[in-house]
């Protein structure tokens, strides 16, 4: 008997507590559109999606530092210089995004609601493995857009696991949804080759390895890395001193997530970078 407009069949389709499945059932999740991919020699693309660029994350003594520049571009146009690419998903998880913000922000929103929906309906927190997999699945579902040349997203996911051993975990993904756990650092986006070079160098031959660094030292390295990326990559914003625009940085630790205040980043920048 159809008893109400309210759906009560939460366990009959998909896993229990699966929020994307609920959205799909209600027709609220945009399905992946698989269409013809652009052929070689086809007419010049006239439209280019807005894209966000360089993000990085590494483990230091106080947890995981996640940083991103603020620039969003479409082709060679700067669309926005205060884009937020480091997003809080829950009390212990951060997703940082490189790629198309329209898709990435929607993914972050689905992810945020998925974790909360799971906790509320199943009366327990989703495991770290479950969270990592949830993002992987969203990327996989989005692959149709990627094949069409729009909507590519390459995120970094940082989270703190309190069971069984309290420890911070860092993952990066490819556009198809493969997840890779990083031992020390991760960087994605167009400016990432330079960033990876710097982090690799610092970790192996710097004054001390990344995981032994203090917060100030970690902020300094992140600023230098983004500044270097901006030097050669026009899509990366780096630091705009005249506009007082600094990269966004957040730290994941056992206590939760802290957003570093701009004046602190500015002070470290002035002392060690400028």
């Amino acid at each position: 008997m159809e008893r109400s407009p309210v759906a009560f069949d939460q366990n009959s389709s998909g896993a229990a507590g699966d929020f994307p499945a609920l959205l799909r059932r209600k027709g609220l999740l945009s399905p992946a559109i698989i269409g013809p991919t652009p052929q070689a020699g086809s007419p010049q693309k006239t439209w280019q999606p807005t894209e966000a660029t360089t993000i990085l994350a590494f483990k230091f003594s106080g947890g995981v530092l996640v940083a991103g520049d603020r620039r969003a571009t479409a082709g060679n146009t700067v669309v926005y210089d205060r884009a937020d690419k480091v997003l809080e998903i829950d009390r212990h998880s951060i997703m940082a995004i490189a790629g198309v913000p329209a898709t990435a922000w929607e993914m972050a929103r689905v992810l945020e609601h998925s974790f909360q929906y799971f906790r509320r309906t199943q009366l327990q927190e989703m495991s770290v493995d479950g969270k990592v997999r949830a993002l992987s699945k969203l990327l996989r579902d989005n692959f149709g857009f990627v094949m069409q040349g729009v909507g590519v997203v390459v995120p970094i996911f940082a989270t703190y696991d309190s069971h069984p051993n309290p420890e911070a975990h860092l993952y990066f993904y490819d556009a198809m949804g493969a997840q890779f756990e990083a031992t020390d650092y991760a960087a994605t986006g167009s400016g990432s080759p330079a960033v990876r070079g710097i982090l690799y160098y610092e970790n192996n031959w710097g004054a001390k390895p990344l995981h032994k660094m203090s917060e100030d030292e970690a902020v300094s390295i992140a600023l230098r890395a983004l500044d270097t990326a901006a030097e050669s990559d026009t899509s990366t914003g780096g630091v705009d001193r005249s506009g007082k625009i600094y990269p966004l940085m957040k730290i994941v630790s056992g206590e939760g997530i802290t957003t570093l205040p701009e004046d602190k980043i500015a002070a470290v920048f002035k002392e060690t970078v400028a």
Binding site: R3, P5, V6, A7, L28, Q116, L123
Partner: protein, 259 residues
């Protein structure tokens, strides 16, 4: 078959009586608005009765666990899809209960060939100020009672739910005289425990009239707490956090109880 209207009315009356009997032993739940939020409290042995619905909404229920579960799930689904497609600020308890839950519960109750919901629920939504706190009690037939200042009823900063109307009214009478919206957490906690004790006493001895003596309440409370656990949850008023719900453990509450 029930063809005549009279037979339908009779069937509904029987059904009401049956549900009331089923709900009668339900342990009371008290929700008190205080300075820093809303405190939900009950005392029980096993089953969880207090639940998080959305960022600012919590629920407590008595009845059949299967029915409570279906309604809880429906409330979470509705709130989550609304919060996702619009924003968390658009999720409203008033709309959730009035437009979605109540009509469903009413039609289930009145369709005499189907099963009704064996559940009575108490919802609360925390506001920026105590005067914006909303409490709604929803009955198995979809009837809604609110704390709002409507039709000359004085606005109350608390709401209770219990197995019988008599038990509920005693708890309300007690809180009306004892509870103030600017109370501290400790004071609210102890008022809630007293209200629970009064409600529970009334369920045990339904012939008693009026509020019991102060000393009798304390004695009863002490006896009950020796063998049962406190289940409590908070909706915090602190607007710096998105998610205001937090469950409180028995062990963190025990030291705050006045003996």
């Amino acid at each position: 078959m029930i063809e005549e209207p009279y037979r339908w009315v009779e069937a509904i009356a029987n059904r009401r009586e049956y549900i009331e009997t089923q709900l009668a032993p339900g342990s009371p739940i008290a929700a008190l608005g205080y300075r820093d939020g809303i405190l939900f409290l009950t005392v029980g042995r096993t089953r969880q009765k207090l639940f998080e619905i959305y960022d600012r909404i919590a629920m407590g229920g008595i009845g059949h666990p299967g029915d409570i579960e279906r309604l809880r799930m429906a409330a979470i689904e509705l709130a989550s899809t609304e919060g996702f497609t619009r924003s968390a600020a658009d999720v409203s308890l008033r709309r959730l209960v009035h437009y979605s839950l109540s009509p469903v519960m009413k039609s289930a109750f009145e369709q005499v060939y189907g099963a009704p919901y064996l559940a009575r629920m108490l919802f609360a939504e925390v506001g920026q100020r105590p005067s914006e706190d909303l409490f709604l009690r929803v009955e198995y037939d979809g009837e809604i009672a609110t704390n709002g200042a409507t039709y000359g009823q004085a606005r109350q900063d608390f709401a209770v739910l219990s197995g019988t109307p008599q038990s509920r009214e005693l708890m309300e009478a007690f809180l009306k005289s004892q509870h103030a919206p600017d109370a501290s957490f400790e004071v609210a906690l102890n008022s809630a425990l007293d209200a629970w004790s009064i409600g529970h006493m009334s369920l045990q001895a339904s012939d008693a009239n009026g509020l019991p003596e102060r000393a009798a309440i304390s004695k009863y409370r002490q006896e009950q707490l020796a063998g049962r656990g406190i289940e409590a949850a908070l909706l915090e008023r602190d607007a710096s956090m998105a998610i205001r719900y937090r469950s409180l453990s028995d062990t963190e509450l025990r030291p705050l109880i006045n003996e």
